[in-house]
């Protein structure tokens, strides 16, 4: 009851602000280039900044994987031709150096997980869609939002710079476990490169927290009139839960990083104990290397969902829109996201089954881990049920969303194997794990990211991307990622360990020369196929077909804005009110009300007497009396 009154009051408040803002805007029309495009506080501009940074990083991170895949797939190949790019990382024999291999793997993982799929994905779409879909003129705090991007930018600059220093960037794997990462004498990447990694990540965490706090506040406080939580599009639910997970888990990573900084530079022993290295016994005693892993994975596992949930939210929206059908099991979808979000905090030690932690603890974490498969399965079923009896239009976004569901299933089922600790004895830290997480987390989130770009590009840039190029892009990518990651299960079952520079040293693992070559070939093709996307993206920003206001006939509020929404999103601060959920697609009798196969969220029930269901009426009745 109170809640509603509050929303109401606030909306009025906004209207006010709005007029104000708008007048304000007039003086600002001569805004300098800098405040408009660089230090902008507009959520749409910030979203585009995140998008472009994210895409740049994606190409850098992808190129790195192609380079180390060359080493793995073609161990005898002369890589001299890469010297112009890699310089001394190619050694005298024309091979990628061994430490440089690890450096590339580490940077690839860090970049992909944090910079592309956390900042790039969440930063772009949470920023762009939250105000537009909840009906708000901007984020709760434009300034914090701007800081969030510039912190990310700073983190990026530091990480990028670390690629060029003499001792090389951090090289201990993206998880940077101590003691390896704590001791500069253990490998050259643990020197200055590691310091820069820690600096960069600390700043990155600040960026992520600033963003998340803003997203949460905006969703809670700035929904337009009528936009109750049960009318929020699933995208917003996903971004909202992601932000909460981020706020609860990133500080723990910060703590882990801080203690590591202390161990590295102030002689403390949080993670170090009884170490003899480089011909001397270190003074450090009493620390625990395992403590770091607990702290790291307390973020690390939720992080998997931080990258995945936004992709799933985006997919929900795209699948419903292009099936011309309401999402199946709206409440079950929310319920399972909340379930996943909660469970994601109590499964972290499944990454540590073989660290020597008490085996009983392993049992507990196996139970918890396999429970999380249930809400994940429910989500997959609901997506399929949404397609069922739909009338499907295959836009490029829709293709990538269907692809996402497929890889989410294919990668998810192998999680059932890995979560079973008895099976993890053999599979832990092998390519089976690499295959699993690339499919379920890497590919699924990447597909969600790309799908989102195709889908909301028209609202971002006012132009359409080319659909045909999009189709080709999808099919090459879809086939490509299965060709790259599916065979890795085989090498994993054979036991080939991850982060290995070469598979030829062991008879047990040295049986897959052909397969490795195939994987590397497929990776190269897949990587270069992303050029189609890059071209389509850049080309369409400038030359794409002019987009209509609502190109996909979707119901959500962002499509009621002008072709290119200005500052404040709706002209004259006229924020639409919401009268129904986001999924009134193909509603029976809508045609009698003069609507096609969708009724946007802002259409009052009074305009649709024929198509209103009993449920609609009950809901609005409740809302009025609340």
């Amino acid at each position: 009851m109170a809640e509603h009154a509050q929303v109401h009051a606030e909306v009025h408040g906004h209207d006010h602000d709005h007029h104000h803002d708008h007048d304000h805007d007039h003086d600002h029309h001569e805004q300098s280039f800098i405040s408009k495009y660089v230090f902008s506080e507009d959520h749409k501009t910030i979203a585009k900044q995140f998008l472009i940074m994210g895409l740049i990083w994606a190409f850098i991170g992808g190129a790195m994987s192609v380079i180390f895949r060359l080493q793995l797939g073609f161990p005898d190949m002369n890589l001299e031709f890469l010297r112009p790019i890699l310089g001394t990382w190619i050694n005298e024999t024309g091979k990628l150096g061994q430490e440089q291999y690890l450096a590339l793997v580490t940077m690839h993982g860090t970049i992909m997980v944090f910079f592309v799929l956390t900042a790039g994905l969440s930063g772009t779409f949470s920023n762009f869609l939250i105000p537009l879909q909840v009906g708000a003129p901007d984020m709760a705090s434009g300034f914090l939002n701007m800081l969030s991007f510039w912190f990310f930018f700073l983190a990026s600059v530091i990480m990028f710079a670390s690629l060029f220093i003499e001792t090389g960037p951090a090289s201990g794997g993206w998880v940077v476990y101590p003691p390896l990462s704590a001791l500069p004498q253990a490998m050259s990447g643990s020197g200055l490169g590691m310091t820069m990694w820690l600096m960069s990540m600390s700043i990155f965490i600040a960026s992520s927290l600033l963003g998340s706090i803003n997203y949460i506040t905006t969703v809670i406080n700035m929904r337009t009139k009528g936009m109750s939580f049960t009318r929020l599009p699933l995208t917003i639910w996903a971004f909202f839960l992601t932000a909460i997970i981020g706020v609860l888990s990133f500080p723990v990573l910060f703590a882990a990083a801080l203690l590591l900084i202390f161990d590295r530079s102030m002689g403390t022993s949080f993670y170090l104990d009884q170490i003899y290295i480089g011909g001397e016994a270190l003074h450090n005693q009493g620390g625990s290397a395992i403590l770091y892993q607990h702290l790291f994975w307390f973020l690390g596992h939720p992080e998997v969902y931080i990258v995945l949930l936004p992709a799933l939210g985006i997919t929900s929206e795209i699948i419903a829109t292009n099936s011309r059908k309401p999402i199946f099991g709206y409440h079950a979808m929310i319920g399972s996201m909340i379930g996943i979000g909660f469970l994601s905090f109590i499964v972290w030690a499944h990454h540590m089954f073989m660290t020597g932690m008490n085996p009983f603890l392993g049992t507990v974490f196996m139970f918890l881990t396999l429970i999380i498969a249930v809400p994940s399965a429910v989500k997959a079923f609901n997506y399929i049920a949404t397609l069922w009896q739909g009338n499907i239009i295959f836009t490029p976004a829709m293709l990538f969303s269907i692809g996402l569901v497929s890889v989410f299933i294919s990668g998810g089922v192998t999680g059932i194997v890995l979560g079973n600790n008895a099976l993890d004895i053999q599979l832990h830290d092998t390519y089976f794990v690499v295959a699993h997480f690339h499919i379920v987390m890497g590919s699924a989130s990447f597909f969600g990211f790309v799908a989102g770009v195709y889908h909301w590009f028209p609202k971002m840039f006012g132009r359409m991307m080319d659909a045909k190029l999009g189709y080709i892009h999808f099919w090459i990518t879809f086939i490509g990622i299965y060709c790259v990651f599916f065979p890795m299960h085989y090498t994993g079952i054979a036991g080939f360990p991850r982060r290995y520079y070469s598979h030829t040293g062991f008879d047990a693992f040295n049986k897959f020369a052909d397969l490795n070559m195939f994987i590397s070939g497929a990776a190269i093709v897949t990587f270069f196929a992303q050029g189609l996307f890059a071209f389509n993206f850049v080309y369409s920003i400038f030359r794409g077909r002019i987009a209509p206001e609502n190109p996909w006939n979707a119901t959500t509020l962002e499509w009621t804005t002008p072709r290119v929404p200005g500052h404040g999103n709706w002209p004259h601060g006229q924020i639409p009110h919401v009268h129904r959920w986001a999924y009134d697609y193909s509603k029976p009798n809508a045609d009698k009300d003069g609507f096609g196969d969708f009724i946007p969220q802002h259409i009052p029930l009074s305009q649709t007497p024929n198509s209103n269901t009993e449920h609609d009426m009950a809901h609005s009745h409740k809302a009025q009396h609340a």
Binding site: L102, L180, L183, A186, Q274, Y276, A281, Q285, A289, I290, R324, P326, I327, F328, G329, H331, T355, G356, P359, F367, A373, V374, A377, V378, A380, I384, A385, L387, Q389, G390, N391, I393, I409, S410, V413, I416, N421, A422, L423, I425, H428, D429, D466, Y471, Y482, P487, Y490, A494, G495, R499, Y501, F506, D507, A508, L515, Y539, R543, R545, S586, D597
Partner: protein, 351 residues
């Protein structure tokens, strides 16, 4: 010179492609053929079944070749249990994978856009929701239970009657193995006693009991048919003992000794016959990234019949026979300033 030609021809090809693309899109605009749902929708719908089917066929045809390679023969008791469970789980998830992917792509194809049909407004069914929550929950419960039994018998309460105790230590970038000798007791160690230059790489403390008859070995010899308790530690960074044929893996952590108990079931000789590879050797690898030569931390394991093992064991020279200068050397040989903390350490160890 060649690179200039290659680069300029690449640029040229790229330019031509862009031009073609531009012409194609302009023609499309002129023809006004940019509605979202045209023939390409049918093509994409068809691809939704054709491509996954083709991939499935390709995978199925390739499978027998791959399967020949990835089946590592099993050489331990619990390895049989974990492998059985692994393959059962794989079959279960394979079924789930096939059904759900078939439903996904089947629906995508079958419900492709048709101007004469309207999508249904069907969006909720609590019964269905409950059913498909319970089905995976039951499957998970069964797998969890099966997994827990194996884990319990392998890790929590392994059979360790008369277990042979052996220590393995990881360092950058090699493994080292120590045997307790005739008394069956591994001597104490302290990391401050490690001295690579003189040869005490384990930091064995020869003032304490049990160390005198310890010996080191160049290969990991283990007896067939009797449990082996592998005591695992690391002295610099994390490593991880991985013995793929034995389905054994356990991290080696500086400051925190770990262990793994397992029972080998096939000698190296038997495995040579079984695989038909006269040069077969069991290998031990490192699976926790530890630096530059992580990928090269190989160690050979030799499994022998009990009597051969006993014979080999008895023939080994002890550490002190090899390096008599260490006799009696222990913590008190360290400099005073290190000792302060050393004594504290000894006290806590006793507790």
């Amino acid at each position: 010179m060649t690179s200039v030609i290659v680069i300029s021809s690449l640029i040229l090809t790229f330019a031509v492609l862009i031009l073609l693309f531009r012409i194609q899109s302009l023609v499309a605009v002129l023809k006004g053929s940019h509605e979202t749902v045209g023939t390409s929708n049918k093509v994409n719908a068809a691809m939704m079944v054709v491509i996954p089917l083709l991939m499935l066929v390709a995978a199925a045809m390739h499978y027998p070749h791959a399967a020949k390679e990835f089946h590592l023969p099993i050489a331990s008791e619990h390895g049989v249990w974990t492998d059985d469970l692994f393959w059962i789980t794989i079959y279960v998830i394979l079924v789930m994978f096939l059904i759900t992917n078939a439903a996904l792509f089947g629906c995508a194809f079958y419900y492709q856009y048709n101007p004469n049909r309207k999508a249904s407004f069907y969006h909720d069914n609590p019964t269905v929701e409950i059913v498909w929550t319970i089905i995976p929950a039951v499957i998970m419960a069964v797998l969890v239970f099966a997994g827990w039994r194996v884990w319990y018998n392998t890790m929590e309460f392994p059979n360790d009657k008369n277990a042979e105790v052996i220590e393995i230590m990881g360092k950058q970038f090699a493994w080292q193995v120590r045997y307790p000798g005739k008394d069956g007791v591994l001597g104490k160690y302290d990391f401050r006693l490690i001295d690579d230059a003189k040869g005490n790489e384990f930091g064995i403390d020869f003032e304490k009991e049990g160390a005198d008859d310890d010996f080191l070995a160049r290969e990991l010899h283990i007896p067939k048919g009797r449990p082996v308790r592998l005591k695992i530690r690391a002295r610099d960074v994390l490593h991880s003992v991985y013995m793929p044929h034995f389905r054994v893996k356990m991290d080696a952590v500086p400051g925190m000794p770990t262990e793994f108990v397992f029972t080998p079931t096939k000698t190296t000789e038997e495995m040579r016959t079984e695989t038909g590879n006269g040069k077969f050797n069991y290998e031990l690898a490192c699976t926790e990234v530890c630096g530059k030569a992580h990928f090269a931390m190989k160690y050979i394991i030799v499994v022998e019949e009990e009597e051969d093992y006993k014979k080999w064991y008895a023939a080994q020279k002890t550490f002190l026979e090899d390096k008599p200068e260490f006799k009696g050397k222990g913590m008190s040989s360290l400099k005073k300033k290190n000792l302060a903390s050393a004594e504290k350490e000894v006290k806590t160890e006793k507790n």
